[in-house]
């Protein structure tokens, strides 16, 4: 082999929802020298449009492979994301932070990470990226740093990777201390096209965001904070991004 042959990029599994966080996370994985393998889930979520976004983001984000896991969690959960509960709209930040988010799907990250771990094992990948972040800590217990560390400890015991001691399996959560605005800033620096992403919990069939659900409000606020226009289309009175 020629000494000039570049060593292949190590594979990494990146959990990709098609939103801002995971799009940035994918870009970070690529920037850090990994060959990203994007993994998305169709789990009965009402905002299934995000899977289209995930595919676009994967293609634009140098993912060498992108896959979707089909599973039906509606039998075991009753949250607003998978069930028929009404989604809250136009809440203040204080209201959003006052309790576990009504859009919370129990143990969702545990399930997602477990699939990612399975795929990592099949691929021979030792790295998994997940886009959990500070903005989510309050509403989603499985976005907390201590949860991610506990999962990583367990992952190293669950797999041949860890138990055979070839190398440690790592769960990367590069956004974990970032605000939404910081995540967008980092993504823009890495060339992420946020026009490809989808954040809304209740988008129209053609993917236009509602502008009123918690996810839209947080997103719009972050873009406003940065003084950057949100490139995704909104419907109705949110057609012009930004509020207040």
């Amino acid at each position: 082999m020629s000494p000039l042959t570049p060593s292949p990029r190590p594979k990494a599994v990146v959990l990709l929802s098609g939103g801002i966080d995971s799009a940035t996370c994918l870009a970070i994985a690529h920037a850090e020298g990994f060959a990203p393998h994007a993994l998305s889930f169709r789990y009965g979520q009402r905002h299934v449009y995000e899977l289209h976004a995930a595919r676009r983001v994967a293609d634009a984000g140098h993912a060498v492979d992108s896959r979707t896991i089909e599973m039906d969690l509606r039998q075991i959960g009753g949250s607003a994301l998978t069930g028929d509960l009404p989604l809250p709209t136009d809440r203040t930040t204080a209201q959003m932070n006052s309790s576990v988010a009504p859009t919370y799907v129990p143990a969702r990250n545990t399930i997602f990470l477990s699939y990612a771990l399975a795929w990592a094992e099949v691929l021979g990948a030792g790295d998994i990226f997940i886009g959990v972040n500070a903005a989510d800590h309050a509403g989603y217990p499985d976005c907390r740093p201590e949860y991610i560390r506990a999962y990583e400890t367990m992952a190293n015991l669950a797999t041949r990777f860890g138990t055979e001691g070839t190398h440690a399996l790592r769960i990367h959560a590069p956004l974990i201390a970032m605000s939404k605005a910081q995540i967008i800033r980092r993504g823009l620096d890495l060339g992420v096209d946020f026009g490809l992403t989808s954040t809304c919990y209740d988008p129209s069939d053609d993917g236009r965001a509602c502008g009123h659900c918690d996810a839209c409000l947080v997103r719009l606020e972050a873009f406003r904070e940065l003084g950057v226009a949100d490139p995704v289309p909104y419907r109705g009175d949110r057609a012009i991004p930004g509020r207040g």
Binding site: Q75, P106, I111, V122, D142, R144, A150, M154, T163
Partner: protein, 308 residues
């Protein structure tokens, strides 16, 4: 193995160290005379930050585990009841329809727990086990749900062979041996789904029938894995769900013995990976099943295609 033999069979897995509902799950026939038992608190041991890899994979646990002289059996059993509400501890049990999980179900019912059972359809070739799981729950009057996780099938087919966005029909992989070694990370995926349901129900615990004996093959059945999973599951939600593995230190033969005590109809459990109408008698699980009955000295009612 020093110390381990001093344990009552099956008495152990209160992996969070709190000793709450595990005890009754473990052995409902515990002596109630207040005799002090040694309880192995794998979580404490695990939390000491011991690098298990230094100990070798199979033998590790036994050499390094610390036995903790714990509270009396009487206390343990009493604390097994949820004193706050007076209701029995509610548990989501992972039920494959096989021998181990069926015995565990009856074991925990006998221990006074309120059980729900979760089976997982991951496109396994031996889907027959799901029918057995369902029939067992009907027989025992236990609520039973099956999570359809057959979407994992593409992982088993090698990359690129299957369009990931097309649902794969069941039975597609008839030529594949769907052992745990081929279904990567199966226990963890099942546990995470069971935890999700338990959290949604505000149940007290998830239980599964990991047992001693095949740790080198299956890293996700080891005590340290169980302890670490328990820790992660407790952090996954504000509502803390415990993880119980009452058979973690028992061999399959001991599980057969326990099943015989409980009157488990073993012929209504399914182990074979081959997916035929009767147990093949030749695959790894059939051999293990047959051997367990022999070691336990319990008559094996299973009809095998190939006699032993």
């Amino acid at each position: 193995m020093t110390g381990v033999s001093e344990l009552l069979p099956g008495l152990l897995p209160i992996f969070d160290g709190l000793g709450t509902i595990g005890a009754t799950a473990v052995y409902p026939t515990l002596p109630g005379d207040g005799k002090t038992c040694q309880i192995l608190l794998a979580a404490l041991w695990s939390c000491r930050g011991l690098d298990t890899r230094q100990c070798g994979r199979a033998g590790m646990a036994w050499r390094e585990m610390r036995l903790y002289r714990a509270r009396s059996v009487t206390q343990m059993v009493q604390s097994g009841q949820n004193s706050a509400s007076g209701r029995p501890p509610s548990v989501v049990l992972i039920l494959s329809g096989g021998l181990d999980s069926t015995v565990l179900l009856q074991h925990m019912i006998a221990g006074g727990h309120a059980l729900r059972a979760l089976s997982v359809d991951y496109g396994q070739r031996h889907r027959r086990e799901l029918l057995y799981a369902h029939a067992t729950c009907q027989r025992l009057g236990v609520e039973h749900r099956t999570a359809d996780l057959s979407g994992i099938a593409w992982m088993l087919a090698g990359s690129g062979l299957v369009n990931p966005d097309v649902a794969v029909p069941h039975g597609e992989y008839a030529t594949q041996n769907l052992k745990v070694t081929v279904v990567p990370n199966r226990n963890l995926i099942m546990l995470s789904v069971a935890a999700a349901w338990a959290i949604d129900l505000k149940a007290d615990a998830v239980a599964f029938a990991a047992h001693h004996g095949y740790h080198t093959l299956y890293p996700d059945c080891t005590p340290e894995f169980i302890a670490a999973t328990a820790a992660a599951i407790k952090l996954a939600d504000w509502h803390q769900v415990q993880l119980l593995a009452p058979f973690a230190l028992m061999t399959k033969a001991q599980i057969v013995q326990r099943g015989a005590e409980l009157g488990v109809p073993f012929e209504q459990t399914w182990s074979c990976y081959e997916g035929g109408d009767v147990h093949c008698g030749l695959c790894g699980t059939c051999i293990e099943r047959r051997e367990a009955f022999n070691l336990a000295g319990v008559p094996d009612p299973t009809r095998y295609q190939v006699a032993g």
